[in-house]
């Protein structure tokens, strides 16, 4: 196991930022942490990266207590890019490179990989926010780490930059690296991650493989000759856990253990003629919104 946390909790005054969070991230998986603002994503990553001390619980990296030596094997980006504003990009990366004890010739490689090589001698405070974000990614890639921990890696990037960063992360994943990524861009997590966990008010309310999370709540689109009657019937049946009237059709999420045929059977028994019945694969965004509602 690359990362394991058990019951980690953190309070800031009366605010519970992390509430008994368990995480298990295996080798070469990509794990997305989803949650609305203030749900505890950054606090959770701060705890696993040893900058926030948990009130309770423990963290293990590579099966051991966290230590500077384990953090050197991890490339991290936490919240916003944090660099010395008055230093050049190369100098800033030199500081990180010396901490990680990597060959300083790596600096040019990671700057090239993130498209910043021509700005190598520029001061950090002259960069655009997108470039700063890319520099943070360059710092994370120094030393070719086994694991990348990325907190909102697409922050401040334009659409082209987002696509570039996504491709960079996918490329790293394909190289066999483990990726742990917090994001509120659900599409990002869906495209990059194999596993995800959803945080709400500091609690992990759902977690698992992304494909499982998506499978859990497919949306059924139903059209009928008498849509309002059908809505009443379906609501009363207990077959669904969520129903929405959208124009002239219903969007329903089936209760656990139910399938589409039970809706068809119910309509037939109640004498309602269906004009449409199809399954729309739910997006992670719909799952997310449903869960954090």
């Amino acid at each position: 196991m690359i990362l394991e946390t058990k019951q980690i909790s953190k309070r800031f005054g009366s605010i519970v930022a992390a509430d008994r969070i368990d995480l298990s991230v295996g080798e070469a998986t990509s794990y997305g942490i989803l949650g609305p603002n203030g749900s505890g994503k950054t606090t959770t990553l701060g705890i696993v990266l040893s900058v926030i001390k948990p009130d309770q619980g423990w963290v293990k990296w590579f099966g051991k207590e966290p230590a500077p030596s384990s953090l050197k094997q991890i490339g991290s980006l936490l919240e916003v890019p944090n660099f010395f504003p008055y230093l050049s990009l190369a100098r800033n990366l030199e500081v990180i490179g010396r901490i990680k004890e990597v060959d300083l010739s790596e600096i040019d490689r990671v700057l090239d990989e993130t498209g910043l090589l021509d700005r190598k001698k520029s001061r950090f405070d002259t960069l655009s926010s997108g470039m700063k974000q890319r520099l943070a990614l360059a710092a994370a890639l120094l030393g070719n780490p086994k694991v990348l921990v990325l907190d909102e890696p697409a922050n401040g990037l334009d659409p082209e930059g987002i696509a570039e960063v996504r491709n960079l992360i996918i490329d790293q994943r394909e190289k066999g690296k483990t990726i742990i990524m917090a994001s509120h861009i659900l599409d990002e997590v869906e495209k990059v991650c194999t596993h995800a966990g959803i945080l709400k008010k500091g609690q992990m309310i759902a977690s698992g493989e992304v494909s499982e999370l998506l499978k859990m709540d497919d949306v059924i689109i139903i059209g009928a000759n008498d849509i309002l009657t059908l809505k009443k019937i379906v609501e009363a049946s207990g077959l669904v856990k969520n129903i929405t009237l959208s124009g002239n059709h219903l969007e329903v999420v089936l209760a656990r253990g139910q399938d589409v045929s039970s809706i068809n059977r119910l309509a037939y028994e109640k004498g309602v003629i269906l004009t449409e019945l199809r399954v729309r694969k739910s997006t992670l965004e719909e799952q997310f919104l449903e869960l954090v509602k």
């Binding site: 001390k53 953090l71 991890i74 010395f84 050049s88 990180i96 901490i99």
Partner: protein
């Protein structure tokens, strides 16, 4: 150690404000020495120039240098405060630097600045000393050079207290203001309210007394008819009672260790 030195150097070598404060410290120190060297008060039995001669030059120059220790303390607060303001301390920790290593880096920085300050005193003393001293012998040259070590301890004391202020407050402006207030106002007021036997034990009193005001009358006196022991500031009632220098030195070291320990404690305990 070498790695930490390189990391600290990478952080400060291109930092303009760091250079500006060091240059300001050097310029002010040399300016004061130059201005005083132009004064030539010479009355029978007394010569002002004696404070520019070996061996008294070591203590008089260390004392002048000590006026600017606050600048060195501000330098430490600015450099360290930047790491909190731009959250680079946090970035260094998540990159694999332990909090102890970070603190050791600050120790190296403080030692380096203190070394710079001492070298400045030595260079200035050598230049002025050779210009103004006649009949120089090796024993006279080396007499009283121990004050250089004491001065470096004093500079470290000022800077380590500054480090404590900045790691607790994490704000450059607030730390600098409170640090200056503590030196100029808070501790002196508290001292005044305490009985005389207590007030000599306060940290600023102890640390600033490491390089006491040179006994100018003793240094300047050329008369053989005057007993030098009667020419101390304390002896002629111009200065309040002080701790003996050896006790003062032990107490200063104890305060430096205490401030260092408190800084370590804060750095270990707090979230970044």
């Amino acid at each position: 150690m070498k790695r930490l030195l390189r990391i600290e150097w990478a952080k400060i070598s291109s930092y303009n404000l760091f250079r500006v404060i060091l240059i300001l410290n050097t310029t002010l120190f040399l300016l004061v020495l130059f201005v005083f060297s132009r004064i030539d008060i010479s009355i029978p039995g007394f010569s002002w120039r004696n404070i520019y001669r070996f061996p008294g030059i070591w203590s008089s120059f260390a004392w002048v240098a000590s006026w600017f220790n606050v600048l060195l303390a501000i330098l430490v607060m600015v450099v360290t405060g930047n790491e909190f303001a731009s959250k680079t301390f946090r970035h260094q920790v998540i990159s694999g630097m332990s909090r102890n290593e970070w603190l050791a880096g600050k120790g190296i920085l403080i030692t380096g600045i203190a070394l710079f300050a001492v070298v400045l005193v030595i260079v200035a003393a050598l230049i002025y000393g050779f210009i103004f001293t006649n009949d120089l012998t090796l024993p006279v040259f080396f007499e009283n050079t121990g004050i250089l070590i004491v001065y470096s301890l004093q500079a470290i004391g000022y800077m380590i207290l500054a480090l404590l202020f900045i790691v607790v407050l994490r704000s450059n402006a607030l730390s600098i203001i409170l640090y200056l207030l503590y030196f100029i106002f808070i501790e002196p007021v508290i001292r005044v309210m305490c009985p005389p036997e207590v007030r000599i034990w306060f940290p600023v009193k102890i640390i600033s007394h490491l390089t006491p005001v040179p006994e100018f009358f003793q240094l300047a006196s050329q008369s053989e008819n005057i007993n030098p022991d009667t020419l101390t500031f304390e002896g002629i009632g111009l200065m309040a009672r002080q701790l003996p220098q050896s006790t003062n030195l032990i107490m200063a070291v104890a305060y430096i260790i205490l401030f260092g320990f408190l800084t370590w404690l804060v750095v270990q305990k707090r979230d970044l």
